[in-house]
């Protein structure tokens, strides 16, 4: 692949590009001296953590930077030999979709909700070609078939909300490639998708690239995805290029410290060595838990949706149980039922020996302190108007602890999660994502819970930060003996933190066992397909080598 790739001519050449905040030439630079090139039939992966400037680079090429906020202040961007930074907006409009096209991270919001799918693709053809209505329709249906959409006639006439995330991303790809552009820019196109869908989309992009000879600039933060799709890799950090090279070289022998750290932070799919079994008491028990949603229509026909069925789980003190599964598998529903944030329709939950599934809200209150939750998005789960100290102290104060004592406890907890003491009087917006998640952990610990539920608690974080937060959770568990119910879609994360793993699909637990057993010798076809779909499973990133086939089987 590499041999062939390097022989093509350069489709995109970025030289010494600089992008500044605002319009002034001497303003602060968010992109500083980036040089990249992508050739025909080649995939260049740009990797970096949030804030590294990878998306800004892509938007600069497309000429889609937000006006008056970000402006290119130096360097050059050439597309098939033509300079883009000095091109008129009319010329850029002509080039978009015909010579360069882009697909985005969030397929759920990238399509106009009030225009039918077919019309949205048709717009591209109407603007850029002279084809008549029949020829355009023909071309669109053909393209929809190429991106392997089912029932293309029906989807052509549907609105976006009728389609799944994977289908919408296929539509985006069809829309981007319908005029066979020379360059496709893909900005985290699979990040919002489940692993199995992700795998299909990556394969699709690969196949279409082979058929059309497209050059692909693929932006991602996920090293697994890089290993699957890249010919060459460019690593970015803080608006600068760290290093660039062929995939194999970057993964096996990265020269820069930052790249080595980035690779070392990728959690391994191989489970960590199992901890010895314990006889500690069971703190959480769910028995045949079920949650059924009933939709009532006007004429009284009720439709039932089982979000969770027959879920039985046990968690001992000081242990970690992972619930893994794709979106819609019911893992969050189970967590919410256990916390009684929603009421289960059947089954029982025993928390530290007390049955809580049928307690009234009032009686439940005294049990709330025994189980606490950390949510996925650290940017939305903390009240922006309340200081960190008060946020952490609020729980204990609610349970009658004097305010001064609660604040003293806040201070201790902030130290425990590795934040400076002055954090106590600051507000959430003054912290980074990783720090906020530490605050969320401190808040959850303030009530001395027996069980901590982490609902995708590290999914929104960059890998290096993710590794730190996982270490923190591990350390806290060792010190305080808290039991952890860890909900994640990421098998790598599950492999590194869980003692036991339950795999969920369609609201049911399909496989349940020790992490080592479930992740290395899965019994169920669904578990196997999840593991097979995990991107980069052939690589042991932290040790800069492919996984030994012996270790996998």
């Amino acid at each position: 692949m590499n041999e062939q790739a390097t022989s093509g001519s350069a489709v995109l050449e970025i030289n010494d590009l600089a992008v500044g905040l605002g319009g002034a030439a001497r303003s602060q630079r968010v992109i500083d001296g980036i040089s990249l090139h992508v050739r025909e039939r080649e995939t260049l992966c740009v990797v970096g953590e949030s804030g590294s400037g990878k998306s800004v680079t892509a938007l600069t090429v497309m000429g889609l930077l937000p006006k008056r906020v970000l402006t290119p202040v130096g360097g050059s961007v050439r597309l098939a030999g033509e300079e883009l930074l000095s091109a008129s907006s009319k010329r850029l409009r002509q080039l978009r979709a015909t010579t360069m096209a882009m697909i985005f991270q969030e397929p759920m919001t990238a399509l106009n909700p009030v225009v039918p799918i077919g019309r949205q693709i048709d717009e591209v053809l109407r603007v850029h070609t002279d084809l008549d209505a029949r020829a355009r329709r023909q071309r669109i249906l053909q393209m929809m078939e190429q991106v392997r959409l089912p029932e293309i006639e029906r989807i052509f006439a549907s609105y976006p909300h009728r389609l799944s995330g994977g289908q919408r991303q296929r539509i985006m790809i069809a829309m981007a490639l319908v005029l066979k552009p020379k360059l496709l820019i893909a900005d985290e196109p699979t990040t919002a998708l489940d692993v199995t869908t992700q795998k299909q989309i990556l394969t699709l992009i690969r196949d279409l690239q082979r058929d059309h000879g497209t050059a692909v600039l693929f932006i991602t933060h996920d090293m697994g995805v890089v290993a699957e799709i890249a010919d060459r890799v460019a690593v970015m950090r803080n608006g600068k290029l760290v290093e660039t090279g062929p995939l194999d070289t970057i993964l096996r022998a990265p020269t820069m410290e930052y790249t080595r750290n980035l690779l070392s932070s990728v959690p391994s799919l191989v489970p960590r060595p199992p901890r010895p079994r314990t006889d500690e008491p069971v703190v959480l028990e769910a028995n045949e838990l079920g949650k059924i949603y009933r939709e009532h229509s006007f004429f009284g026909h009720a439709r039932e949706v089982a979000a969770a069925q027959d879920v039985t789980l046990t968690l001992r003190k000081g242990r970690t149980l992972g619930i893994v599964g794709e979106s819609g598998s019911g893992k969050s529903t189970v967590a919410r039922c256990i916390l009684r944030l929603i009421d289960p329709t059947s089954g029982r939950v025993r928390l530290a020996g007390h049955e809580i599934s049928n307690l009234s809200r009032r009686l439940l209150r005294s049990h709330r302190r025994r189980i606490q939750i950390i949510f996925q998005d650290p940017y939305r789960s903390l009240n922006p108007r309340i200081t960190v100290g008060e946020t952490i102290a609020e729980g204990p104060v609610n349970f009658g602890v004097p305010h001064a004592d609660a604040l003293a406890k806040s201070r201790e907890l902030l130290e425990l999660v590795g934040l400076p003491p002055d954090a106590i009087s600051r507000f959430p917006h003054q912290f980074s994502g990783g720090q906020r998640q530490r605050i969320a952990i401190a808040r959850a610990l303030a009530l001395d819970p027996d069980v901590l539920v982490a609902d995708e608690a590290v999914s929104a974080l960059d890998v290096s930060v993710q590794a730190q937060v996982l270490d923190l959770l591990d350390e806290i568990q060792t010190r305080l003996g808290v039991a952890l119910l860890f909900i994640t879609h990421d098998l790598r994360v599950a492999a590194q933190i869980c003692d036991d793993v339950a795999v969920m699909q369609h609201g049911r637990v399909v496989e349940h066992g020790s992490a080592a057993q479930v992740l290395t010798s899965p019994q169920q076809a669904y578990t196997r397909s999840l593991i097979d779909a995990a991107p980069g499973r052939g690589w042991d990133f932290a040790n800069f080598r492919p996984v030994e086939t012996a270790a996998m089987s």
């Binding site: 889609l64 008056r68 850029l92 409009r93 978009r96 882009m102 985005f104 909700p113 009030v114 717009e123």
Partner: protein
């Protein structure tokens, strides 16, 4: 869609029922003898008795209510206490100017405010945006009658382009009719334009930050196509909502405008009825405006389902 419409109309019945009950009780719960209130301070006992019998005030309350509702459903809104003309006839004679101004105001406001708000959002942060915002604050804060008198001073008295006041029926020719509704319509439109422009701008600002607008630009569409097809269609739902709720504003505005321009509309009719304690007319006007408001909100909800395929009932 049809089922939804039927259900919504059925749901409007209890709402109107509550309004009717309120209107009925309005007269009966006013302190003192309704007949005395109606007849005035100098009425003789015989006059009072005659009014009581006429209004059925000697019957039990629930009988009175059902008799009243029964008449209402047959289109009998009672007879004016002052002029002895049936209320329905009075409304029929006076509704044309009011409807003309209201419809013209809505059309003019949408034609002016939606483009204004859209451009303000598109040129967010520039002088155009700030100009539109200032205009909108002025439109909100200056009372309707002030705007009316200023417009009369400029266009009718100084420039002598338009008549100062009065009304000609559209049946008597479009020219004279049109001349006389221009100033009232412009007067009333100010506040409505301010409201709609502000809402359009806010809704468009939200929509222009959406991912699908970025997608539209990435497709190489012209800015006008981006703004209209992808922007405005998505911003339409909140804008329609505010046009609907702003209808209440329009009703109160019509009353003031008709007084300023001396138009023989139902706004003036209401004011005169209140001053003269002409209870049957007041009751009819409350019922009429409530029914209009319910109907407009129904239209707004139907518009939602047409504008946004995700909204299904």
């Amino acid at each position: 869609m049809f089922g939804y419409l039927v259900r919504r109309i059925l749901a409007a019945i209890p709402v109107m029922g509550v309004v009717a009950l309120f209107v009925f009780l309005l007269l009966r719960l006013t302190p003192g003898d309704p007949a005395a209130i109606i007849a005035g301070d100098n009425a003789s006992p015989e006059q009072l008795e005659r009014i009581r019998t006429m209004l059925g005030l000697n019957e039990p309350l629930y009988v009175q209510f059902f008799t009243w509702i029964g008449r209402l459903l047959r289109g009998d809104l009672g007879v004016s206490l002052i002029s002895n003309v049936p209320v329905l006839t009075m409304i029929g004679q006076r509704i044309e100017p009011s409807i003309s101004i209201a419809v013209a105001t809505i059309i003019l406001s949408i034609l002016v405010a939606v483009p204004l708000g859209t451009i303000a959002a598109w040129k967010h942060g520039t002088w155009i945006d700030r100009f539109v915002m200032v205009l909108s604050v002025v439109g909100f804060s200056v009372p309707v009658f002030v705007i009316g008198y200023v417009l009369i001073q400029i266009f009718a008295i100084d420039l002598r382009w338009l008549p100062v006041q009065g009304y000609r029926s559209i049946a008597a020719g479009f020219g004279p009719f049109f001349e006389r509704i221009i100033l009232p319509t412009c007067t009333l439109s100010f506040i409505y334009i301010a409201l709609i422009a502000r809402m359009t701008r806010a809704a468009m600002l939200d929509v222009l930050n959406e991912d699908y607008v970025r997608t539209a630009r990435a497709k190489g569409l012209r800015e006008t196509a981006v703004l209209l097809r992808h922007g405005l269609r998505n911003a339409a739902v909140p804008v329609i909502t505010v046009i609907g709720t702003g209808f209440a504003l329009l009703i109160s505005g019509v009353v003031v405008t008709e007084s300023v321009f001396n138009l023989p509309g139902i706004g003036r009719l209401t004011v005169d009825a209140v001053l003269a304690r002409d209870y049957p007319v007041i009751q009819a006007m409350i019922l009429l405006t409530s029914a209009l408001y319910v109907a407009v909100n129904l239209l707004v909800d139907v518009a939602y389902t047409l504008l946004d395929p995700r909204i299904r009932y």
